[in-house]
């Protein structure tokens, strides 16, 4: 059963909780999966997202999220202009067909030689689900603090990461390892209730064999 603030709320920039507020959340997750402000943002909008994005400000909303704004930030409306002032190149493409869901976006962030791509859907009421990160198929809700660990496939990684978290008394809510990505890499997704301190994340990054660790804070 929900909270009263699911009914009287969220406080958000309109016009649509799925096409605007949820889109900001997708942008926020993409930014955290990339780890910094990108130089380029490429967005592909599918299905209903594509058909109605101008009137719903979906493009603005995603860019606002990538810039670190929230669904209630007044800047959402001006996000395209703010990105331009910051010298960030934004491109939008539209696909008529649905992918996963009627409200789906592919968000590609790049800077220098680095790039990250996520595919996420907006479920309504601002809730989202991330379906792909770095080409791995996964499922992240953003309701938990989430650690993404990528590494060349090898035994023992899960144990090493869970040991570090256990030693810090951090309780794991969900965990998933995806191997369907390119090359023979794996992506471990760990969702936890608590906030993870920086030094613990550093310990996880220092695990031998680890390629990259990203931390995605739960959506408020």
């Amino acid at each position: 059963m929900g909270s009263v603030f699911d009914i009287i709320g969220p406080v958000m920039i309109g016009p649509s909780s799925s096409h605007t507020a949820g889109a900001v959340n997708l942008g926020r997750i993409a930014r955290q999966a990339f780890g910094r402000v990108p130089e380029k943002i490429r967005i592909v909008l599918y299905g209903s997202f594509g058909a109605t994005y101008k009137g719903h400000g979906t493009d603005r909303a995603i860019v606002a999220g990538v810039l670190g704004y929230y669904p209630h930030s007044p800047e959402v409306k001006q996000a395209l202009e703010i990105a331009r002032e910051l010298g960030i190149v934004v491109t939008i493409a539209v696909e008529k067909d649905n992918l996963y869901h009627p409200n789906t976006a592919r968000i590609e962030l790049s800077s220098g030689g680095m790039s990250t791509e996520i595919v996420g859907v907006s479920l309504g009421g601002g809730a989202v689900s991330i379906k792909e990160v770095f080409g791995f198929s996964i499922d992240i809700s953003g309701k938990y603090n989430t650690i993404l660990c990528s590494y060349p496939e090898q035994v023992g990684m899960v144990a090493r990461v869970t040991q570090i978290l256990a030693a810090e008394g951090i309780n794991i809510a969900f965990m998933e390892v995806s191997r369907s990505g390119r090359k023979s890499n794996a992506l471990m997704v760990v969702e936890v209730d608590d906030e993870i301190p920086e030094d613990v994340l550093n310990k996880v990054s220092e695990v031998s064999g680890m390629l990259g660790v990203r931390y995605i804070r739960k959506l408020s």
């Binding site: 059963m1 009263v4 603030f5 709320g9 969220p10 309109g14 016009p15 649509s16 007044p74 959402v76």
Partner: protein, 297 residues
């Protein structure tokens, strides 16, 4: 007395009667129990939302530019001017209408609103409550409590019917908002717990079958003006309940009928922009134009 789940409206009513308290008190206790947050914390959070609501009325009134899809512009100022020129009377009705238009238009222009229960129906509660506060000088903390009543009604509807246009048509969005506002208003005016239930039932009976048929798929036509009509529904329902009129069909049965009606409604009338107003000759021309602007850029 705290409930660990809200099952239906009757349960809210009985719990309030047993404890000699208001429905808002029962809902607040439920929220404290389920979130483990303190009363003060929850009241403050709701006060924050109420402040955003009040501000959305002011901002919506001041707004000049057209909505994102460009379909609606300045409807609140048009009504305001008509009131100033005494072409329509300045009363509770016209002020409520004006405010609902202002907030719903602000939403469609990417302004800051409180979804209540959804963004598309965000104008109804603020319009009704701001007007009530102006008329009766209710202090903010009383209004904040009435928002817990509104939320309780919304929780029952979300559980036993729907609050999503894509699932239940607009009866689920603007209809739910109207019944939430009707209940809140009735409690504010000092109505009994049973009168709150009657207000919800009376309000909902007059939204059953309301379709969701937004032109071009945008939250503009008919959504913005619909907010003003359904804000008035809330006032009528509350007045009738306070006067002592009772709904022949009890509130939980009306909610059951709302669920069934939503299920019977064809998909074309549930937010897909394939039927109703969206599929009229004019609706289609507008929809096509919006599509072209989107795809050729």
């Amino acid at each position: 007395m705290a409930l660990d789940a809200i099952q239906n409206f009757q349960q809210l009513v009985e719990t309030a009667l047993e404890n000699h308290c208001t429905i808002s008190e029962v809902v607040l206790e439920y929220e404290m129990e389920s979130t483990e947050k303190s009363r003060v914390e929850l009241l403050e959070q709701m006060l924050g939302n109420w402040r955003v609501m009040k501000n959305s009325v002011l901002e919506g009134m001041a707004k000049q530019e057209a909505t994102m899809g460009g379909l609606v512009k300045g409807s609140a100022s048009i009504v305001e001017a008509a009131i100033a020129a005494k072409r329509i009377s300045e009363d509770r009705l016209s002020k409520t209408v004006l405010r609902a238009l202002a907030v719903a238009e602000l939403n469609a222009s990417m302004g800051l609103i409180v979804a209540a229960p959804t963004a598309g129906s965000c104008g109804i509660l603020p319009a009704v409550l701001v007007t009530a506060q102006e008329e009766k000088n209710y202090p903010d903390d009383k209004i904040v409590m009435s928002l817990f009543t509104a939320a309780g009604i919304g929780l029952v509807l979300a559980k036993n019917a729907s609050i999503a246009g894509a699932e239940g048509g607009c009866q689920a969005e603007c209809g739910s908002a109207a019944s939430m506002a009707a209940g809140a208003l009735t409690e504010l005016a000092g109505g009994t717990v049973n009168q709150v239930a009657e207000a919800v039932a009376l309000s909902l009976k007059n939204v059953l079958g309301l379709t969701c048929d937004p032109v071009g798929g945008l939250v503009e036509v008919p959504c913005i003006k619909r907010n003003s009509f359904l804000a008035v529904n809330a006032i009528v329902a509350s007045d009738l309940a306070l006067a002592g009129i009772r709904s022949v069909i009890p509130v939980d049965e009306v909610i059951g009928a709302m669920k069934e009606t939503g299920e019977l409604m064809p998909l074309a009338l549930k937010e897909t922009a394939q039927g109703g107003l969206a599929a009229t000759p004019t609706g289609k021309v507008i929809g096509k134009k919006l599509q072209e602007e989107t795809f050729e850029k």
